[in-house]
Symmetry: C2
Subunit: 301 residues, 2 copies
């Protein structure tokens, strides 16, 4: 069993490779839920849906959000009506969200995700990190913003001063999944808003200390491969580099995978992490994704 | 000013004719809200939406429900997912419902309808009969059913023993609208589940007594032109005929419009209502709708 900690963009790319070389039944994916909130009457758990769509080959993997070839009839009409929907929810995607909302209200988010994954033919276990609602807010130079406001409305442009999120309880089964895994892979997701929330759950860091953990750095040079990760790292006083990433995970990390371009960081990283793996981490083709996945799997002792 | 009391099928047909011969700005339409409920996270007020779509020429006037030429991508996907949506909500229609839900939560239903009507270019005033949630249940030989369960899931087939609905408060402006009108038109909607709920609002019957009221009978012979009206009338011990309809409205009715086919009922009806108007009430073309509307308008003293 391999457990993957995932956010919404970088890690799903890696999952596309992983599911080709590992039997999906042997994968457990623990997904960030911090940014979940209601939009247009439906519960939107963007990272979970991205993982569901990735594992069922439905993902729009240009945007890493929503369903490939989806239509936007309801969304566009809402805009026409002056009732702008902050998230661009497609018509097929909306059905997923309506179903999840109903299942969640009846059975809770954990069971809802299990039912949806099964319904999409997914054999891996997809676990939302928490069933509790959490708030995340981004303190910026123009004031405190809701996460999606910052990300979409303000296109991640404001200067970030701090990132705040509430403490929530881990979903049932998370600690067991980590402890029963041969290895945990921390995907190249935003360390601050996707991975730290998972790490902040009671018991997770301790469980990781007892398990082999390999992390793929989402930073190349001094910038994130995608998204506003570097802004968030800077705001929290974390060095925007693979060194900064390693420092965030230092108490449990066994192996950090960095890009060829950062090979010069190896000796510095080795003072923080036992093993440093250097390869191509820019996952712009299925070949690269599979290759990266294979290198990670091969590195597990 | 003309005020129309409306349900969801028969009266909208008449509205299509009325709005061609009366300046829409002189029309106020009070709409049944009894069957309103949440579906898939959005507030569904089927009769209000039918009136909105009718007055904005968007109505699917084969089904008298939803938007003409709408698509059903989300709805069909929900069915595929095994998350059956009892009401067939189209993609454009869903946007209307999402907008109404959001406006309603912010401003209440009355203001929400006003904003939506304005947004659709409607000049008439469309007033939901009440802003309060109400329950309607149909007591049948197979048990007590929710209204939409009876209507859609059970296709109006069970024997109806009783119809129960909760008492709600009238929306602001209803009594004034009736009192300030030259005439009130009761459209050929289901007398039991669409019109009686409006009549049961405090003050409505009294206001109608002081206003000229013309009702179009939805019954021809001993059957309703459409829908399960006759079952409901029978269950409440009301004669299924224009006589039964006249009796329901007898305390305020000035003129009943019946179909040519029922001309034999004239003298019997004249014992209940002052004036009986006989014409073609089967509104299967715009010509018939306009003609019927003209006859009604001409009958107002």
């Amino acid at each position: 069993m391999i457990t993957v900690l995932s956010g919404g963009t970088g890690t799903p790319k890696l999952l596309q490779g992983l599911k080709e070389i590992v039997d999906p039944i042997d994968l457990t994916i623990i997904v960030n839920t911090l940014e979940n909130e209601y939009f247009s009457g439906v519960y939107v758990s963007a990272d979970i849906d991205t993982v569901l769509y990735t594992m069922s080959d439905m993902i729009n993997d240009e945007l890493w959000y929503g369903v490939k070839d989806d239509t936007f009839i309801t969304h566009d009409r809402l805009n026409e009506l002056g009732c702008t929907e902050l998230l661009r929810i497609g018509d097929i995607d909306r059905a997923t969200k309506i179903q999840k909302t109903q299942l969640m209200q009846r059975y809770g988010l954990l069971k809802a995700c299990e039912i949806q994954a099964k319904g999409m033919g997914i054999k891996s276990k997809i676990i939302p990190m928490s069933e509790q609602n959490s708030d995340i807010s981004i303190v910026t130079d123009i004031g405190e913003l809701e996460f999606h406001d910052f990300l979409i409305k303000h296109q991640s442009k404001p200067e970030v001063l701090d990132v705040k999120f509430s403490k929530v309880a881990p979903s049932d089964g998370i600690i067991e999944a980590i402890r029963n895994s041969e290895a945990v892979i921390i995907g190249p997701s935003n360390p601050i808003t996707s991975i730290l929330p998972i790490l902040s759950l009671d018991g997770v860091r301790d469980a990781l200390k007892d398990t082999y953990v390999v992390a793929v750095s989402p930073i190349i040079g001094s910038d994130a491969v995608s998204g506003p990760a570097s802004k968030f790292m800077k705001a929290l006083g974390v060095d925007v580099s693979s060194i900064g990433v390693a420092n965030l995970y230092h108490d449990f990390l066994d192996n950090i995978v960095i890009d060829n371009e950062d090979s010069n960081l190896k000796s510095q990283l080795n003072q923080i992490v036992n093993k440093v793996t250097i390869t191509n981490t820019i996952m712009n083709s299925l070949g690269v994704k599979k290759n990266l996945a294979q290198i990670i799997i091969d590195s597990i002792p």
